[in-house]
Amino acid sequence: MPDTANSDTNLPYALRAYSREDLVGALRKMFLIRKFEEGAEDSYTRGLIHGTMHLSIGQEASAVGSCMSLTDADKITSTHRGHGHCVAKNADLGRMFAEFFGKETGYCRGRGGSMHIADVEKGNLGANGIVGGGLPIAVGAALTAKRLGTGAVTICFFGDGANNEGAFHEALNMASVWKLPVVFVCENNKYGMSTSIERSTSVKNIADRAVAYSMPGVTVDGNDFSAVTEAVDAAVARARAGEGPSLVENLTYRWRGHSKSDRNRYRTKEEIAEWMERDPIRRMADLLVSHDILSEAEVGALEAETEQEIRDAIAFANQSPAPLIEDATRFVYTEEMA
């Protein structure tokens, strides 16, 4: 929740809006996401993880910054590239790894894996294997909030590629017509798999499409924690006030390939290197250090601490039991079918 921890208007928004504790917590989450995904990558290489996964390394500011003003009562819908959202929404890392390892202690009891990870208690309605799949679902969650008067806001994460799905159009239109408390957060990392925005999308910025839904649309530097927070917090506040949906576009970049099978033929090493220079975590750390919120040493300690958390989480997952084969068809129905 944004408070007005500091009212000096020369300060970046986040430093004005959030307490030291919140800010350090945010940096900590960004580290956790990075380390979590590095840990997942490493586990994959060691054969502990089956299938594929989509890493969001380089996009941490978008996930954490967008969720800053949410409570556990607020919802998010996430994407195939959803580990960051999950951590940002306070998931347990052990249960996340357990899911990746296909264990019964995982968030989906090993049935879902990386592409379906969810944490309903914390308001994360789930990653989605279908590009654009979460868009109308988010609108539905917002409809519930409005009808039942819960005051909850839903953040709908989606990618630049997803914005060309019909579901995007239908979802934004309905959210606007019905004035629902939902914030559409586009994580524009320049590519949908191998296909660049230029080759797939008839506008330069996804936010340019907001006008077609009569909602505010804003494009921000998605690697700038404060900029993300400022834009999304305003949209969340608007939603909470009953003024309807908004579209926020976070310009960011994924350092890794699209998935484990990406041969990286569609972008240059230079482009990747350039974006690695804009590391959102380093920038957040610099922000906090330059404003005397943390020292470099404290940043280092924080990072080390998160590494340990990841090791513990992996250990938990490793030690967890696998689902029983006999249970393969459980959870299809709520009351098991005769």
Binding site: R109, A118, G140, T144
Partner: protein, 336 residues
């Protein structure tokens, strides 16, 4: 529940019975919302929602834009978070636009999330031919959804069941797909007043018989019953089973009947190949009832073509009473 025994049963049309079920649900459960195209002031393309919007307002009876995929997805998201949406497709054919939300999301969410959620969603699909609306407005695609674990699929054939199955669907924590036959909307029958449920997953024996079993769905139940009357006059006693639920199928009722009669005729309007009757046939052919079969299992389904516009062609491509009679007579030959 048998309508005949119920003092407060009244004669209602199938459409009225469905509306009554929705009225009861809206009245008794604030979580229930109706969603669909032109279900408000228009009353629905088939006048099923009728005047409900005047009683409950546009927040509870919501006209959606013409956005089947998005609309279905909104219903999924709403069901996931605490509402009880009843989503009407204007024609079941338009489900083709929403298969992703129905199949990839609604049906699978509970499983994919390891049981952490359920999706109490009811969808209504006006289905079938006979209205002269041609190939894109006349399909019977219940077999697609019945192929999908995570969904339940019902096809009421009477006003009583139309109401009872809808109320049962609303009590069900999982997504229930209701295929309503458009031609049945105006058909009348006794319907108990108030709240009651017709169990999902239970077939109904509409007519007892000993010479052959006819398993029919939806409007074909009525054609099968009409044929059975004629057959009886010829000395052939057909047992007519109304399948009612396609998934999960009531194996026991069907198998018990086949064990008794030794002959099975499946009658359904959907395209014959891979239509509901394919499953009924295969289910029987792999069961212990196989040993009781005295003849091949016959299927009468829709012809292998889209539904044509011309009314005579339209009738010709789905099973009709004379075809059922011919098939039943051929099947019963040797038996009597």
């Amino acid at each position: 529940m048998n309508a005949m025994d119920t003092p407060e049963a009244r004669e209602l049309s199938y459409a009225e019975a469905i509306r009554e079920a929705m009225d009861i649900a809206l009245e008794s459960d604030p979580r229930v919302v109706l969603m669909g195209e032109d279900i408000g002031v228009y009353g629905g393309a088939f006048q099923v929602t009728g005047d409900l919007v005047h009683k409950y307002g546009t927040d509870r009876v919501m006209d959606t834009p013409i956005s089947e995929l998005g609309g279905a997805g909104v219903a999924v998201g709403a069901a996931l978070t605490g509402l009880r949406p009843i989503f009407e497709f204007q024609f079941s054919d338009f489900a083709a636009l929403a298969m992703e939300q129905i199949v990839n999301q609604a049906a699978k969410l509970r499983y994919m999330l390891g049981g952490a959620v359920s999706v109490p969603l009811v969808m209504r699909f006006p289905a079938g031919s006979g209205t002269g609306a041609a190939a894109q407005h006349s399909q019977s695609i219940e077999a697609w959804l019945a192929h999908v674990p995570g969904l339940k699929v019902v096809q009421p054939s009477t006003p009583e069941d139309a109401k009872g199955l809808l109320l049962a669907a609303l009590e069900d924590p999982d997504p229930v797909m209701i295929f309503e036959h458009k031609i049945l909307y105006k058909s009348k029958g006794l319907v108990p007043a108030g709240h009651y449920t017709t169990p999902i997953g239970k077939a109904a024996i509409r007519r007892a018989g000993t010479d052959l079993t006819i398993v029919a769905t939806s409007i074909m139940v009525h054609k099968a019953l009409a044929a059975a009357e004629t057959l009886a006059a010829e000395g052939i006693e057909a047992e007519v089973i109304d399948l009612r639920t396609v998934r999960p199928m009531d194996r026991e009722t069907v198998l018990a009947s086949v064990r008794k009669t030794g002959r099975l005729l499946c009658v359904y309007e959907g395209v014959k190949t891979l239509g509901v009757g394919a499953e009924v046939s295969a289910m029987v052919a792999e069961s212990d009832a196989f040993d009781f079969l005295d003849a091949p299992i016959v299927r009468l389904g829709g012809a292998e073509c889209p539904i044509p516009y011309n009314p005579d062609l339209e009738k010709a491509v789905v099973p009709q009473v004379p075809g059922i009679l011919d098939a039943a007579r051929a099947l019963a030959k040797g038996r009597i």
